[in-house]
């Protein structure tokens, strides 16, 4: 009887470890505005196949994933000496499952959102945005960091 209880306990431990190993969050592509002109606001749509940011998330069908972005408010000049505003609209993120029947879901990257994975165990998230260089913005390269945090249930 004692042995049966201990064996059962070890089996349960093994199952818990396997579930947590299924999760994945991977960066695929930077959000790249490219060349922007002083004084001219530049937008990248989340659907842009080249310039939009892109990340990959994997869990399991039937699972829930809360996605939350930590978004910069400014890009900093790489060589120092300036920064530039960056904003994200309520339609600047798209989630798309990998199953053929999956429909893209547009969402607000400024707020967390929870997805229930019904047809795909994995999905991509694309991110757009807009930068607003000042008329006298210092020329050069600018950079900021976008963090995607996924909580798996």
């Amino acid at each position: 009887m004692r042995r049966c209880v201990l064996l059962t306990a070890f089996a349960l431990l093994a199952v818990v470890r396997a579930l947590t190993g299924q999760t994945q969050v991977t960066a695929i592509r930077d959000l790249a505005f490219g060349a922007v002109i002083r004084g001219v606001q530049t937008t990248v749509a989340p659907s842009d196949p080249i310039k939009s940011g892109r990340l990959y998330v994997r869990y399991k069908i039937g699972g829930q994933v809360q996605v939350a972005f930590t978004l910069p408010t400014r890009l900093n000049r790489v060589a120092g000496g300036g920064n530039m505003p960056i904003t994200f609209a309520s339609t600047d993120a798209i989630a798309q499952g990998t199953a053929g029947s999956s429909q893209p879901v547009t969402f607000d990257p400024n707020n967390p959102i929870t997805f229930t994975l019904q047809t795909s165990a994995d999905f991509y998230i694309n991110l757009g945005g807009r930068v607003t260089p000042a008329a006298n913005q210092a020329t050069g390269a600018y950079q900021g960091t976008v963090v995607l945090t996924c909580t798996f249930f």
């Binding site: 592509r29 922007v36 020329t139 963090v147 945090t149 909580t151």
Partner: protein, 165 residues
């Protein structure tokens, strides 16, 4: 009793593990941009074929004094794509004078000596501004008047579009 305690402790550990089912993971990407100064594109000189005669084609080379010319200013040393909207005819009222066989040349200095040849078209031609943010573009072509081409002054528009890349 000791055995019972060990089992209870094991079961307590299992339940505490299964209760912590939520797991967080993160990944990061960069958001990048390169700020350039605004670009200007100026039509500096008309492509002028001068007098042409019915049935006699006439070509103007990019090196000719009457070739078309554009001057551009922009971000020093930046890459730029050049695309053209080109007429197929010059017109004089209802009369058309075919034009084609376009030729082009770019140079970061205001001289065709040593310029880089290209074929103007709607497809992008890559070029670059000089270290001082200058670029010149010359355009030539050929008109082909018909044997019964009507006399008159024929005109058309050559449009250059430049974009950083």
């Amino acid at each position: 009793m000791r055995s019972t305690t060990r089992v209870s402790a094991a079961l307590a550990a299992i339940f505490s593990l299964t209760a912590a089912a939520a797991q967080a993971q993160s990944a990061s990407i960069s958001a990048t941009a390169t700020v350039y100064q605004a670009m200007t594109v100026t039509g500096a000189r008309t492509l002028d074929f001068g007098n042409v005669f019915p049935g006699v084609s006439k070509a103007i080379a990019v090196t000719a004094a009457t070739s078309g010319q554009f001057s551009l200013t922009g971000q020093s040393s930046a890459n730029v794509n050049l695309t053209f909207t080109l007429p197929t005819n010059l017109t004089s009222g209802a009369n058309n004078l075919p034009i084609g066989t376009w030729t082009g040349c770019t140079n970061p200095t205001n001289s065709t000596a040593g310029c880089t040849a290209f074929t103007p078209s709607a497809s992008a031609t890559a070029s670059a501004f000089s270290g001082t943010g200058a670029l010149w573009v010359w355009v030539g072509g050929t008109v082909t008047p018909a044997a019964n081409q009507a006399a008159g002054t024929y005109t058309g528009t050559v449009q250059l579009t430049a974009a950083y890349f």
